[in-house]
C-alpha cells in the first residue's frame, strides 16, 4: 500500500497537469508519468504481465506514436486558453466533478470487503495463468483482436496515404522547364555560382564575386537573403579595397594577369599581399 499512497498523489497531480499545461508535448510527458505509475500499481496488484505490457505497449509504443504525431503537427503548437464555447468549461468541470464524486462515493460506500487475492490464481505463474484463460475461454475474442489490429493497420495506411495527382517529375522534365524559363523570361540557364568564394567565417552568407568584382546576388541562398542575415555590405568593403589594389596594379603591370585567380585564396591573404 505504500506504493499506492506514494504513487496516487503523483498520478492525480500529473493527470490534472494534463488539463492545465498549454503545450501538447508537456501533456504527453505527464501522461507518460501517469502510465508508468500505473504500471507500478499493476505490479502491486499482482499483475506482473500487465506491468510489462503497460510499459512496453503504452509507454513504449503508444506514447511514442503520440510524440511522432506531435512532431509532424508541430511541437510547439499550443492551445489557446480562451474557451470558445460558452459555458462549456464550467459545465464540463461541474459534470466531471459530479461524476467523480458520485463514483467515489459509490465505491467508497460499497464496502466490498476483503480482497480474495491472486495467490491461488497466480500459483502456476501469472503469465501461464493468463495464457490459460486467454487461449481457452477468450480464444475467439483474441482472434478477433488480431483481425482488429490488422484492420487498424490497414486503415492507418489508407488514411495516411497521399494520392499522387500528377506524374513524378523526371530529370528531363526539369531540364525542359529550365530551358523554357530561359526562353520565356531569360532566366539563368546554368547552375548558379557557389557562394562564399571570399568568405572569412561563414561561406554560405557571403556572395561570390563576378569577374568584374561585383557580388553575385544569386549565389546567396534566398532563405538567407530574405531573412536579411546575409553579410551586410560593409563587410565587402575590404573586398572592394582588394579589387581596387588589383586594378591599380594591373594598370602598372601586364593586364593579362587573372585577378580572380590571384585573389581567390582568402581576403586575409589579399590583405597580406
Amino acid at each position: 500500500m505504500i506504493a499506492f499512497w506514494v504513487l496516487a498523489p503523483v498520478m492525480v497531480i500529473a493527470a490534472l497537469g494534463i488539463l492545465f499545461v498549454r503545450k501538447a508535448v508537456h501533456a504527453a510527458l505527464l501522461l507518460a508519468v501517469v502510465m508508468i505509475s500505473l504500471a507500478m500499481l499493476y505490479a502491486a496488484l499482482e499483475a506482473p504481465f500487465l506491468f510489462a505490457v503497460q510499459i512496453i505497449v503504452y509507454t513504449g509504443a503508444i506514447m511514442m506514436l503520440f510524440l511522432f504525431v506531435l512532431m509532424l503537427v508541430g511541437v510547439d503548437a499550443s492551445d489557446s486558453v480562451v474557451e470558445t464555447i460558452r459555458g462549456q468549461r464550467v459545465l464540463a468541470v461541474m459534470v466531471g466533478g459530479i461524476f467523480a464524486v458520485l463514483l467515489g462515493v459509490i465505491v467508497g460506500q460499497a464496502g466490498i470487503g476483503t480482497a480474495v487475492g491472486l495467490g491461488a490464481a497466480n500459483e502456476g505463474g501469472n503469465i501461464e495463468g493468463l495464457a490459460e484463460v486467454l487461449f481457452s475461454q477468450y480464444v475467439l475474442a483474441f482472434e478477433a483482436t488480431a483481425a482488429l489490429l490488422i484492420t487498424a493497420a490497414l486503415g492507418a495506411m489508407v488514411l495516411a496515404h497521399r494520392e499522387r495527382l500528377v506524374p513524378r517529375e523526371t530529370q528531363a522534365d526539369r531540364a525542359a522547364a529550365r530551358v523554357r524559363a530561359y526562353g520565356e523570361h531569360g532566366d539563368h540557364l546554368g547552375p548558379l555560382a557557389a557562394p562564399g568564394v571570399y568568405a572569412r567565417h561563414n561561406a554560405v552568407d557571403t556572395p561570390a564575386l563576378l569577374p568584374d568584382g561585383s557580388p553575385a546576388e544569386q549565389s546567396v541562398p534566398t532563405v538567407i537573403s530574405n531573412r536579411g542575415t546575409g553579410r551586410p555590405s560593409p563587410s565587402y568593403r575590404d573586398v572592394d579595397r582588394v579589387v581596387g589594389q588589383l586594378q591599380s596594379r594591373r594598370d602598372d603591370q601586364d593586364p593579362a594577369t587573372d585577378t580572380v585567380v590571384e585573389g581567390s585564396g582568402s581576403a586575409a591573404r589579399g590583405e597580406d599581399a
Binding site: I85, Q88, L91, A92, V95, G96, I98, F99, L102, L103, I106
Partner: protein, 652 residues
Amino acid sequence: MTLSSSTLLTSAAEGGHHSVPVVEAMSPDGVFSLLWLVIALPLAGAVVLLVGGRLTDRWGHWLGTATVTGSFVLSVVMFVQLLGRDDAERQIGQHLWDWFAVGDFQVGMDLLYDPLSALFLLLITGVSALIHLYSVGYMEHDPRRRRFFGYLNLFVAAMLMLVLAADYVGVFLGWEGVGLASYLLIGFWQHKPSAAAAAKKAFVINRVGDIGMSLAIMLMFVTFGTTAFAGVSAAAGDATESTMTAIGLLLLLGACGKSAQVPLQAWLLDAMEGPTPVSALIHAATMVTAGVYLVTRSNFVFENAPVAQTAVVVVACVTLLWGAVIGCAKDDIKKVLAGSTMSQIGYMMLAAGLGPAGYAFAIFHLVTHGFFKANMFLGAGSVMHGTGDDVNMRHYGALRKAMPVTFLTFAMGYLAIIGFPGFSGFWSKDKIIEAAVAENYLVGAAALLGAGVTAFYMTRLMLMTFFTKERWEPEVHPHESPKVMTVPLVVLAALSVLGGVLLLGDWVTTWLTPVVGEVEHHELPVPVIVLTGIVVVVVALGVGLAVLLVGRREVPREAPQDVSFVTRAARSDLYGDAINDGLVVRPGGVLVRGLVATDARGVDGVVEGGAGLVGALSSVLRRTQNGYVRTYALSVLGGAVILVLAMVAVTW
C-alpha cells in the same frame, strides 16, 4: 330455368294480358351462329380505320360502308330465317365467352336475337348503311373523312351491342359505347368551340343518366343475383313492388339521358353541332331511341312497377310537348328537327309507358320515325350542302326548284311525320294516340295536341325552306347534291312512305308478342274511325295555321326580336339550359368553391399549421446541433451521470 319456353308462352296466352313473357333463348344454329359477326364487322372496321391511320385514307370510307352493309345483309338473312320459325322458337341466344365471374356474379358475353332485336338490327344496319353511303358524299371535302367513318363504325358496333346483348351489363357496354361515339362525333369538328362544348355537354348529361342505369343494374344484381334478361324476367314477379319501382325509375333516368327526355333533354339541341349524317344517324334514327328500347326490353320490370310506368308516361308527355314547342320557334333547320326528334321520342316513350297496349306501337313508331327522320335530316344536310353550310331557314326559301330531288324526298318525310293519311307516320302515331286516349284522356289530349303542333312546325319548316321567296345571299348558288347523297334520300323517302305496311294485318304487334306480351285492347270512348278523323282534323288545323302565319306573310331575313314571351322561351329551349344552370351548375359551383375554401383554409390550415409548428420547434432545437464535438461529448457525459444516478436510485 326448368320450364320450357313453349310452356311459358302457352301459359302466357292462357293467363290473359297480364302475364309477362320470360326471356328464354334457344341455342343458335344455322345462320344464327353468325350473330356475333353482325357486331364484329363494324367493330373490325372501326379498329382498322382508327388504328390504320393515314394508310387507310384512300379507301377507308368504302371499307366503313362495306362493313355496315355486310352487317345489314346478315341482319336481313337472319330476319328472313326468323320469319320462318314458330313464335316459340324466335328467341336465339349465343354465348360467346364468360365475360367475368366474381363470386356469385357471373356475366357472360351473351347475345340475344329475338323479334325485338331483329327489328332493331334491320333499322340500325339499314339506316346506317344508307347514311354511310350518304356520308361518302357529304364528307368528301373533309380531310378527316376516314376518322369520321371509323367513329361511325364504332358507333354502329356499340349500338348493335346495345340491342343484341342478353344481359344488362352487356347493354351497358353498348350504352357507354354509343355515348362515347356520340361524344366523338358531336365534337368531330372540335376546332369549333361550340362543337367541343356541345360534345362535353352531351357527355356530361349522359353520365347523369348512366348513373341511373348503373344503379338499376346494381339493384337488379342485389335483388335477383343476376343481371341477365332471362334471370331477371323470370324472377321479376317475385320481387317487392317498391324494389321494382326503384329499378324502373332508375332505368327511366338512364333512358331519359340517352333519349333526351325531360329533364335530361338539354344536350340534344346542342348535339346538332356535329356533322349532319351524325345528327341523322345517332341523334335522330338510332341512338336516341335506345331509351325506348330499354323501356320496351325491360317490360318485365315496368309491368311489375305501375308507379314507374306512370312516371314514364308523364315524362313522355312533357317531352313531346316540350320538343314540339321548341321546334316551333327555332330558325336553325337542324334544331327544328332536333326538337321534333325529342317530341317524337316522347311519343315512343309514351307508348312504351302505356304497357303491353303500347310497346309494339312504340317500336313501330320508332322504326317509322327512324326512316322519316333520317330522311329529313339527310335532306337538311343536302340543303346545307347546296347552300354553303347555312343552317338558318330564314336564309333559304324557294329551294324546291333548285334541288328537286331533295325537295321531293323531304316532302315524303314531312308528310310522314305530320301523319298525312297513308304515310307511315300516320299509322304509327295514330296508334299511339289511340292507345293514349284509351288509357287516360289527359294523356290522349297531350298526344293529340302534340300532333297538331308537329304539323305546325313541320309545315313552317317546309314553307321557309322550299317555298316562299328566295332569301339566300347573292353569292350562294343552290344546287342539287350528288347521286351518292340523293340515292339514300330516295330509299329513305320510299321507306317513309311505305313504313306503314308493317302494321298490315297487325303484323308488328304479333311479331313482337313473344317479347312484350299480348296487346291489350281497351275500349275506346269513340269509334276508331272517329278518333282518326279528329287526329287528321287537328293536323290539318296545324298545317293551316302555319300556312296562314308563315306562308302568307313575308319572312324576314333576320329573326324579329319583338316577339311574345312564349316565342322567346321557345327560342331559348324553354330555358332548359337556364334551369340546369340554376338548379345544378351554379349550386354545384358554389358548393365546390365552398369545399375548396374549406380545404384551403381549414384542412390545409391544420396540416400546414402543424407542419409550421414542428418547423418552428425544430428551428429552435436545431441550435443545439452546433457542430462542436465537445458539446456533444458533454451531453454524453451528462447522460452517463444521469444513468449512474438512476442505477443508484434503483439499487438503494
